[in-house]
Symmetry: C2
Subunit: 551 residues, 2 copies
């Protein structure tokens, strides 16, 4: 590397692509993110590799599709030894550091089988998806589950917010008129302020922790990739003042749904429509109560990013730091008669993605918008390439975005984006009676058409040009059989491209091509196959001698 | 386990399915293997998962297809942590022991990344594909490559066979009339006896080592799975007296090839026809010189198996030991104008498979022949099941053969057998100009039809009923488009069944189904999604109480 280089990799959780000012939301205020977009490239077709936290993040952190990394759902351990961005960056002297959420579940059985102590340096890296955990906090600490003692809870206690579970009872609860605790988990309370003031809530806390790391890293001197990973605007939908009433029902945009979507829907879609959360968000008044809190959480993030970006500028880091702003998936919020995520409508599977490359090579693209089909598996190869690492296409299944950022004509980017979902753990599987291994969905989106391949069922199909809100499923319409066939073939080709030969690089295999053309390399290693007699063997030895003599 | 149980897993290397008496060869003498078949089930449609040593063996030893284990060619390391038969057996107290060849290449980079010392117990298991290496010997020790000091070389030296490389210069060489060394690598010398007498050659040596282990294991007391893995009848095609002239040109069966196969062949097939070894075996006189040695090597194995089986009987082990006899792939030997293996004609991709289950449950099938489509990935689940282990379909991609061995109607076995080949390391890739990651072939065989899907090229297709010798490629014939389509869809379905979620069993996922039907399990863990107010939450709490009260 010739110059100091860092990466700030910001991820929000459950942030829809369309809930930012720069992405066209008519009411939400996100001036700092909007300004970030003006400094870099804003992608309008960025897809996550699974529309749920864990698998989506494992894809982002490994640069590999779910079908390859195998961590199919939240809490499914990432197999020990699965190569991560951290592994690739450490090889070239770059620290890969975490502040916030990863949703990583360690493969404790695999680690035990390989004799890796969980508290060793390697054990920690294996448990933290390759990140150096400056502050690991998955952002969900309900009573009775998850890590019971996040550092943030200790922080709240130090600030005087005493409780058995400060996260739940202070940061994610409100108070009634008589001082009674009102759980932030309940949608009815989304319009009330959280019990903690803004400065002590999670987003400002994590932002300060990121700045703590950056300060320390300056003394350390090594280049870094910092993953600042906010839990918000993920539920519980509750936010401190003044964000709790910054937006009101008048700022809630119309729901994106059609009655026809409930008329003979695809069986898997129907099963998700029947989930409690979908029914809740489909009821009158729920969106009006919840969405202002969701929007407040987003503006709170934006305000904190303003502080963080000024901090970078003041320390002279803005010119050295590639910044990514993105999310792990969206949120239906009642659109399509659904809540949560899990399916493949754009509001769930598409995310905001803004990338600022500070180098002069990126000047031609500053402030531009790209509709290239990009995927979050592209981030790891982008970072590796930014730090000067050798590409690893035999492991990393995405592509470096640097050519796009540098305005280079890199040929056709990709013909389709892919995403997967395993609903084996959802109630949908019980409703459908699907076998566990067959509870699988795949999305193939080419920019205009989007196919959802459902194992054991007919596919779904949307024409995003004629029907940008994806309200008409053409999956059973005979008129579109050709499109379904074409996209299914794309999916088949994609399944064949899974990279499992991760222990040998393509380049290593091709390294001997010149010699292989000139003589029998196997023979050169003493393995003599297909030679009749000494004369034939001697002739081959001559070839080898001539090759090495440069003949 | 109620009774002592062991497994003797015998594998030959490069043994064609049709070069055994019981499989119909008109001249070869294999009375002991024939008698083994009379005691068990002989499979006539057993396919390897890649027609080359390394990947085929990695599939047999992991129970996983190549697309999953990723060790695509000889010498490509098996990624650290890839679960093996040995891992599964050790969990239930069974030793998994090796005598002979595995072709395992350890993932030294991966082991270093995980801090696993190569000389630790875990490091050795990771380096030996999960086997306890009682005697590891890959059977090829040419000058200048491979492990330079096999124990067998030391043995030969002790017997007075002094040389820098006793394996090459004694066990795999002959002598000329004037005492000069004649390399066993050269096909012209295949009719001469090896310089070592029979008793000191590799097959008897390895057989004795297997018996050494079995004796020691009796004192140890733990059940064992012993992999006795002969390098023979793999080249170098040279065998000691009296086997070197036991067969002559009169015992060489007619070559299986047609002129039409050289008339506009499939490009990949053509590239392999153009390999040196293919041309060598296509020349007049080569088969007549080489095949008698190949057959002698097989009869030598059979004689040794006679000794081994008597040994088991004398020690009372025959009634406790499940015996498998098979091979890692076949050998073209000039059929189809090819040498070596690598492609998917039956003589390459189909292997002998005889399984003797000593238990009374298998009595109904003794001496029978099964045409079920079986694959070598079925062996690991068979052994696991035999020892009473819990099936692991989320890891093991094959199926236990026990239902077939017990004559149970287990429903449709499988609709097609699959095999893969990665020719990135072959000269064929250079000839074809194929990109490294696209140099892939897949076989789908349903018992009658066989499709070879070639990335970037048209497929090949054979009708084994009309054309059992596979001399007519129907891959470009419009009349068979339907069959090609059908088998291609089978391949697509198979690619979607890759088991990558190896850290969580299907059963573990389904374990909470009852509770999941009765109440919201996520809610039970403190995660409250889609609840409007306290009343809704209380109602769900009631459901949980009722469920746990058995209501």
């Amino acid at each position: 590397m010739t110059a100091r280089r860092n990466v700030l990799f910001i991820m929000c959780d459950q942030l829809r692509f369309d809930y930012l000012g720069v992405y066209g939301h008519p009411h939400i205020k996100t001036p700092n993110i909007d300004r970030l977009a003006a400094r870099g490239v804003r992608f309008t077709n960025a897809y996550v590799q699974s529309p749920i936290c864990g698998p989506s993040r494992m894809s982002a952190y490994t640069g590999r599709y779910m079908r390859s990394h195998g961590s199919n759902w939240n809490g499914i351990p990432l197999r020990v030894g699965e190569p991560t961005l951290g592994d690739h960056l450490r090889e070239i002297g770059v620290r890969n550091v975490l502040v916030g959420k990863t949703h990583m579940a360690p493969d404790r059985e695999g680690m035990a089988r390989l004799g890796i102590p969980a508290d060793s340096v390697i054990g920690v890296l294996q448990s933290e998806c390759g990140f150096e955990p400056y502050e690991r906090d998955d952002g969900l600490h309900p009573d009775g589950r998850y890590d019971p003692a996040p550092r943030y809870d200790g922080y709240l206690r130090e600030q005087g917010f005493a409780a058995a579970n400060p996260w739940e009872h202070w940061a994610n609860s409100a108070e009634g008129d008589d001082g009674e605790l009102l759980s932030g988990w309940l949608l009815a309370h989304a319009d009330k302020p959280a019990r903690v003031p803004d400065e002590h809530s999670e987003t400002p806390y994590m932002t300060r922790r990121a700045m703590d790391f950056i300060r320390e890293a300056e003394e350390d001197g090594r280049p870094w990739c910092l993953h600042l990973s906010y839990i918000k605007p993920h539920w519980p939908y509750i936010v401190p003042a003044p964000y709790h009433d910054m937006y009101g029902p008048e700022h809630v945009i119309p729901v994106q749904r059609a009655d026809g979507e409930r008329d003979d829907p695809h069986p898997v879609y129907k099963a998700f429509q029947d989930e409690r959360v979908s029914k809740a968000f489909s009821r009158d008044g729920v969106r009006e109560r919840v969405l202002p809190a969701y929007m407040g959480l987003i503006t709170q993030i934006d305000d904190q990013l303003g502080i963080l970006f000024r901090f970078l500028e003041e320390r002279g880091l803005a010119d050295d730091t590639l910044i990514v702003f993105t999310a792990d998936h969206g949120d239906y919020l009642g659109d399509h008669w659904l809540g949560e995520k899990q399916l493949f409508h754009d509001v769930s599977v598409k995310v905001p993605l803004i990338v600022v490359d500070p180098g002069s090579a990126a000047d031609p693209t500053r402030g531009t918008v790209s509709d290239a089909l990009v995927e979050l598996v592209d981030l790891a190869p982008t970072f590796l390439s930014y730090f000067g690492g050798v590409p690893k296409p035999h492991i990393l299944e995405g592509r470096s975005l640097l050519p796009l950022l540098h305005g280079q004509d890199s040929g056709p980017w990709r013909t389709a984006a892919f995403s997967e979902y395993d609903y084996a753990i959802d109630r949908a599987r019980l409703a459908l009676g699907t076998p566990v291994p067959d509870s699988r969905l795949y999305m193939v989106a080419d920019g205009r058409w989007k196919l959802v391949f459902a194992e054991g069922f007919r596919p779904m199909l949307f024409d995003l040009q004629a029907d940008p809100l994806e309200l008409r499923d053409l999956g059973a319409d005979p008129a579109f059989a050709d499109q379904r066939q074409r996209l299914t073939e794309e999916l088949f080709a994609w399944t064949r491209r899974a990279r499992s030969r991760i222990t040998r690089a393509d380049e290593a295999i091709a390294a001997g091509d010149d010699a292989g053309r000139a003589y029998d390399r196997t023979f050169g290693q003493g393995i003599v196959i297909g030679y009749w007699d000494e004369a034939e063997a001697d002739a081959e030895r001559d070839k080898i001698r001539r090759y090495h003599a440069g003949g």
